[in-house]
């Protein structure tokens, strides 16, 4: 009885408190917001655990400009967007680094960024194609696609799939791990690829394929790490604790086999599945946060991030391609040799992603739950 009373009391207690917080509307005409925090001279960067921004790189920036840098780290690109949305009323950072092109339209739509007024040049056409406006600047890029274990396929005498529908067949039962598009940015990028891939076919749709994959016991994980490290047999995961190794195929970057080789003395048994339109060109952006305090520092850092010294080293330091013209992956230890380059990637544009992303995620949840 007492417990019941407590339960009721707690529910009743909380119910009227919603009045304490006003509803927050996000769809509005963008205006430049005042600083959300005090400007104490420090540049605050909201990012994920981006290894390209080592202490050395940050120290060099501070030495050059006299501006100290503080990093606020979240899990991934989705976390950056969530954090900016949650702290919209009083942004705690000045610069974001890490939103990709599947998240950028939502950030722009919600007025989370302000014009950067920097003039980056020398950006590759592939990096600039998705968005060329004043609110975000690309800083690295790479193609998201399916990776598979060549050795496992050879041992099982299986042929390399030439169409995504082949993955719903029995021989692939329980052998593919997908990071969930709801909680992972590579997962989200691959969902976009499948939307385009199946939109080009008359008698098929992406959600039926996803249902088919769930029926075929595909493994859905929360993030890329679980899919690649815990489940995938072709990557470094086999040498880490907790490796299960039940997936011969997973979602990663087309150049992931090159990264494998780079860290393994030019050896890897992972490669990418090169099917037209079944990969997505992911571009990661940096941008000035609407509500920033240290605006000058943020602009200087955008310029700094695009210098050849910093951006040219993206492949070694952040395991992604540079966005600068003339910079490719290094040839050291087979990095470039083993990195696959898809001939036809998904060309979903800004407007399509902006208009459809939420709906695709909902449809994906329904398709995978009902399967």
């Amino acid at each position: 009885m007492k417990i019941r009373l407590m339960v009721l009391a707690s529910l009743v207690l909380v119910a009227p408190l919603s009045g304490c917080i006003e509803s927050v509307s996000t769809k509005e005409t963008c205006t430049v917001l005042p600083a959300g925090h005090d400007d104490d001279g420090t540049l605050r960067i909201l990012t994920y655990d981006i290894s390209a921004l080592s202490d050395e790189v940050l120290d060099d920036f501070t030495t050059e400009t006299g501006i100290p840098v503080e990093m606020i780290k979240v899990d991934d690109a989705g976390g950056i967007l969530d954090q900016m949305m949650l702290t919209k009323e009083a942004q705690q950072a000045d610069l974001m680094i890490g939103l990709d092109n599947t998240y950028l339209p939502t950030a722009i739509d919600n007025c989370l960024l302000r014009p950067h007024e920097t003039n980056p040049d020398n950006i590759t056409a592939a990096a600039a194609a998705f968005y060329e406006g004043p609110l975000a600047v690309p800083f690295d890029q790479g193609d998201v696609c399916l990776n598979f274990d060549e050795d496992m396929l050879a041992e099982a005498n299986m042929s390399i799939p030439t169409h995504l529908n082949e993955l719903t067949e029995d021989e692939w039962k329980g052998k593919i791990a997908f990071p969930s598009p709801v909680t992972s940015s590579p997962g989200r990028a691959f969902l976009v690829a499948t939307m385009e891939y199946f939109s080009l076919e008359n008698d098929n749709d992406a959600m039926s394929w996803w249902s088919g994959m769930i029926d075929n016991d595909a493994i859905i994980t929360t993030g890329w790490t679980e899919a690649y490290e815990t489940h995938y047999t072709g990557g470094y995961g086999e040498y880490t604790e907790g490796h299960i190794g039940d997936a011969w195929m997973t979602v990663s970057y087309c150049h992931s086999p090159g990264v494998e080789a780079f860290y393994s003395g030019n050896s890897t048994h992972s490669t990418s599945l090169m099917i037209d339109h079944a990969s997505f060109h992911q571009v990661e952006y940096t941008g000035l946060i609407n509500g920033a305090a240290q605006i000058n520092g943020a602009r200087l850092f955008i310029d700094y991030l695009l210098t050849p010294e910093v951006n040219g080293n993206m492949p070694e330091n952040n395991l992604m391609y540079s966005v600068l013209e003339g910079y490719d992956l290094p040839e050291t230890d087979g990095y470039r040799y083993h990195a696959d380059v898809p001939s036809v990637v998904t060309v979903m544009d800004y407007e399509q992603i902006h208009a459809n992303m939420d709906q695709w995620l909902e449809e994906w949840k329904t398709a995978t739950q009902q399967a």
Binding site: V14, C20, H37, D55, K73, E229, I244, S267
Partner: protein
Amino acid sequence: MPRNSEIVGRGFVVMAYVALSSVPFVYAMARLQSVTGQTPLEAFLEFPEAYGATEALQFTLLEASASALLTVLFGVPIAWYLGRYHWRHATMLRAVFSVPFVMPAIVVAMGFLLLIDQQSLLFKVGLDLRTETGVIGAYADWTGWSHPGHFLALIIAHAWFNLSLIIRFVEPTVARLDPAWEEQMSLLGQGQSTFGRLRHLWWPVLGPAVLCAASLSFLFSFTSFALVKWLTPFNQTLESLMASYGGSAGIADYRVDTSEIVMSASIVQFLILLGTLYLTSTLQRRHSNRFALVSEHGAQASRGPPTLKAKVTVYAGFLFALAPMIAAVTASFRIRNRTATGTSYTWGMEAWNAAWAGDLSTLSVTEALTNSMIFAIGTLIVALPVGWILASTIHALEINNNHRLAKALDIATLLPLAISAIMVGLGVLLGVLKSMPSLFQWSLLPILPHVILTVPFVVRIMLPAMRSVDPKWKEQASVLGLNPLRTWYHGYFSFIRGPAVVASSLTLAFSLGEFGASWLLVRSGSWDTLSVLVDTLMSRPKFDPLVQPTAMAAATVLMMLTFLLFFLAERFRAEGEGGGF
């Protein structure tokens, strides 16, 4: 009679703590209500419709119940023998059994993964809990239960984690119960069989303690997150479900489905845990009933040296407690070396050097350790007096026969344990943003959630100790003509000094190992602690073979420090003063 100023002071601390620990939850709930347009009751009723929620609840209830049961099965024999006999190096044994409870879950997860991987002893004897081949695979095929190996690994890890709860609750009572009771019981007809003594003596004496520890084990297994993430990758608990979707919860007009999931799941979790806490509080009060207690040394001496069975049980438990930690330390020296011709492992200090220098674009271990120590000491300075005042207030209410209010306050102090870390994080974020955003630039902000999380443990340790102090001792001290301070010291404090030291060390260790709240706050500022550093490294892609050993080196520093704290606390603790977290 307490003075008015004392009553006002106590009332202020009580109100401030209750507000501090409940406002974040209320704030988060109010925001979710605003975003989803659902009342808490509607959200509760919608729970079965939330994506993945029903499966998560079923799994959570199953693993938490099994973990609590296994904790009792592992813990009671160890506590029994540890309490009954005098052990050489008892201080070290107790410290080793205590450390798991405050280990960051991510370190525990890595330790257990090392113990069940394909190079492990378990795998070699045919128990493959990870890839589920052999006996485990055959069992899975036979029963149709997918991944029994993962489930088993999880509940063993939870039992390891919660072992100290059972030992802390049960061992002191076993150690100090008057041996004459046992002798008298064995003379009676009902006490001549082992079962009879168990039923008529030990169960009434130890039962509440065991059940209290079991209900707390259930609670901590219920809210488990990192262990579930790493050890059972195919399943989610309510907490891990909320963690998966929690990032975008509370944002208007964006991913409202995530707000709905978090709101429904947090209400269901809160209600279940509130019930568990009610049970815990009731059981702990029954446990605090005074039995005929004697000197620990006297009781243990009367039973002679430890028997072989006792030695095997306690030392097996000791190895069990140490194994994941040893595995983690070992992994910090082992470096993978992959070449075109194959993979080999070398042993060396590279990872330690990287950890010390912060070579992997992280804080160095020394910087993270400094942050951790500052937060831990700050937490201690606030949490100990607050916990003390709360415990003494509850005790004063009990003495004045105001049992209903005492019980309500007792449960209120436990509330932070029932609230999801995701909700606390969201609530603190929203609350601070709304009231004082400049707090995000305050370098000591992590102390706030650490205090909220550690005070319940201070209360749990201090309250039974205060209950066991006989008021006559204070009266006798005052009769001796001592001044009020010395009366308080000799007639009261000297009897609870040991638990106060234990509470202090636990607060320090808990703050050092705390991960959830720090991680949530890291999203709004730069407050990397040692446990956040370990998680940052473990969450990274590990193409670079130095990443994992470096994380283990940082984890080793954290473990050593925690062990040292408990070892020192045990030395300060007077005999038998170990009851109750």
